[in-house]
């Protein structure tokens, strides 16, 4: 009797699980599948009803060809990649030292600084963007790649320092103390003892930083205007014109999310544990 009840509960549970799993998978994957399909359709077919499975459409690579040879997208991809790579590397190499100090050394004002980082993380980007634009205008950094690298660096600092403190917290403090007793200087303690242990964490934070910079719109759109249009603003332009170019936007969107999605897929295990570590803190 008991056994039969249990199997019944488990059976119901199993059915509910599968139903919801199918719904969840559909909701997540359908929007993607749909723009991938749209990106291969003739632009007029993409905006004509009934849609594809009901009505046959002309398949074409035109949208990709348009994006890669007749628009500013290729330059925007190169520029965005440069900005994302450099801002990620600069932020991680700079913040790592500060994060190490916050994690391992008790000093005056440490808690204050830690709270400042968390408050800065809560405060959205715009109050940072306004003074950045004012300063950049004075120093001639507006509309330059250097300015964009700098601006993305500033957005990334609070969040990444916060993550990095968590990364260094995972290295036991005893190791540092042992190294110091053995006469290793602070610099070599960091390089020889800590770095090998936090390599994976640092790599993950590089990927996070790259993703945030690559996907960023507001700062990119405001700072890189004429000479350095960035990737996301170029796609936004397809949507804001007098005639919305959905098929071209779809192809541009597929191109722009491809590197991030591939990166996320390859590193999913590490990203998952990284998000969790960051979120639990």
């Amino acid at each position: 009797m008991v056994k039969r009840n249990l199997t019944r509960e488990e059976a119901i549970r199993k059915i509910i699980t599968y139903v919801f799993a199918v719904i969840a998978a559909t909701l997540i994957i359908f929007p993607y599948a749909w723009i991938v399909l749209a990106s291969f359709q003739n632009w007029i077919d993409a905006v004509t009803l009934p849609p594809f499975p009901v009505r046959m459409v002309r398949w074409t690579l035109d949208n990709y060809i348009y994006n890669l040879s007749f628009s500013t997208l290729p330059k925007a991809i190169a520029d965005s990649a440069i900005v994302a790579i450099f801002s990620a590397i600069i932020v991680v190499t700079m913040c790592a030292w500060a994060a190490y100090a916050m994690s391992k050394i008790r000093f005056k004002g440490r808690d204050l600084l830690y709270n400042l980082i968390i408050i800065l993380y809560m405060i959205p980007g715009l109050p940072m963007l306004i003074p950045i634009v004012v300063l950049f205008k004075q120093f001639g950094l507006l509309d330059t790649l250097l300015g964009l690298i700098f601006a993305h660096g500033i957005i990334l600092i609070p969040l990444m320092t916060w993550f990095l403190v968590g990364v260094f917290d995972s290295v036991p403090k005893d190791l540092d103390e042992a190294a110091q007793i053995d006469g290793l200087s602070r610099f070599f303690t960091i390089i020889r003892v800590n770095m090998p242990l936090v390599k994976a964490g640092l790599a993950l934070i590089l990927v996070f930083s790259f993703t945030i910079s690559w996907n960023e719109l507001m700062f990119s759109n405001t700072i890189g205007i004429v000479n350095t249009p960035m990737l996301q603003p170029v796609i936004l332009d397809y949507l804001l014109g007098t005639r919305v170019q959905f098929a071209q936007a779809a192809a541009g969107g597929v191109i722009s999310s491809l590197p991030i999605v591939v990166l996320a897929y390859l590193l999913q295990r590490y990203i998952i544990s990284g998000i969790m570590k960051g979120a639990i803190k």
Binding site: I28, P131, T211, M218, L239, A279
Partner: protein, 279 residues
């Protein structure tokens, strides 16, 4: 320690200086064209009360925040519980949960603007061919639906993220507790209420705060899909503050509103922490 000092000062200055500078700008009248700040005292702050667009935008922001929390926290919890179950294909779903997180928000705007379009959207096509709607539903083109649709778009990105975070909390629940509850024949609902739920409370608080932070600064999908319209029905404070600062070049007033966005998020965060402590 001396070695670390320069990095330290540099990082702190890079973070704190822009913020302090824009706090100063809220007390000034400054235009992007000439960049000469004129001190006006609290004028920018006082002006807010008589600006009808500010009132609309602030209301929309609060509605957005509350709806987003109300949708994405239960949604994330449900999805987290789902991927905590054992079933075939679980790893595929766990892997695909990362897709929305990695998707550039502008690409989300392309996807959802396209799928829910009132002229050529597949959702409207299905609703009409199934006879549910007699004419196209103006998902993004009517004041009644546009804001809630944007909340749903934001949830598409947030729910899987929160599901991950809930999942990690769920995996920390000791299995012996569940097993012994099963031995004593506690039903699924009671097991959830008395074991799972209490364990998840801190995660719920942190996820709610994260949801608030993310939803007050939604920008990309608004610009990409509705651009504030129809009328001003999808103006949020963040969006209005951006418009004031950049196309219209009133940096002082824009900075003031941008600060209020931050204040709303911080108030909500403290409210959540308080609720969580009182319980």
């Amino acid at each position: 320690m001396l070695l670390l000092l320069p990095f330290f000062v540099f990082v702190t200055v890079l973070m704190a200086y822009p913020l302090a500078y824009s706090a100063w700008l809220t007390l000034n009248d400054i235009e992007l064209t000439d960049l000469k700040p004129t001190f006006v005292g609290p004028d920018n702050w006082l002006r807010l009360g008589s600006d009808p667009v500010f009132i609309t935008s602030a209301t929309n922001t609060v509605i957005f925040l509350l709806l987003e929390v109300a949708i994405s926290i239960p949604g994330g919890l449900a999805l987290g519980l789902l991927v905590n179950e054992n079933f075939r294909g679980r790893s595929i779903i766990r892997g695909s949960l990362l897709l929305p997180w990695a998707t550039p928000p502008i690409v989300m705007a392309v996807m959802f603007g396209f799928i829910f379009s009132d002229q050529f959207g597949v959702v409207n096509y299905m609703l009409q061919s199934l006879g549910i709607a007699s004419r196209p539903v103006m998902f993004f083109a009517s004041p009644q639906f546009a804001l809630i649709m944007l909340v749903l778009v934001a949830s598409w990105k947030n729910i899987p993220l929160f599901a991950f975070i809930f999942l990690s909390a769920l995996q920390n629940i000791p299995t012996e507790l569940m097993e012994s509850a099963k031995v004593y024949k506690a039903g699924a609902f009671n097991r959830f209420r008395h074991i799972t739920f209490p364990y998840l409370k801190p995660t719920m608080a942190s996820n709610s705060i994260l949801a608030a932070i993310l939803s007050v600064q939604v920008f990309d999908v608004i610009v990409g899909i509705t651009n504030g319209g129809p009328g001003r029905s999808t103006y949020t404070l963040y969006f209005y503050a951006y418009l004031t600062s950049f196309p219209f070049l009133h940096l002082g007033y824009g900075a003031t509103m941008a600060y209020i966005v931050g204040i709303i998020a911080v108030i909500f965060a403290f409210g959540v922490l308080r609720m969580y402590k009182v319980d």
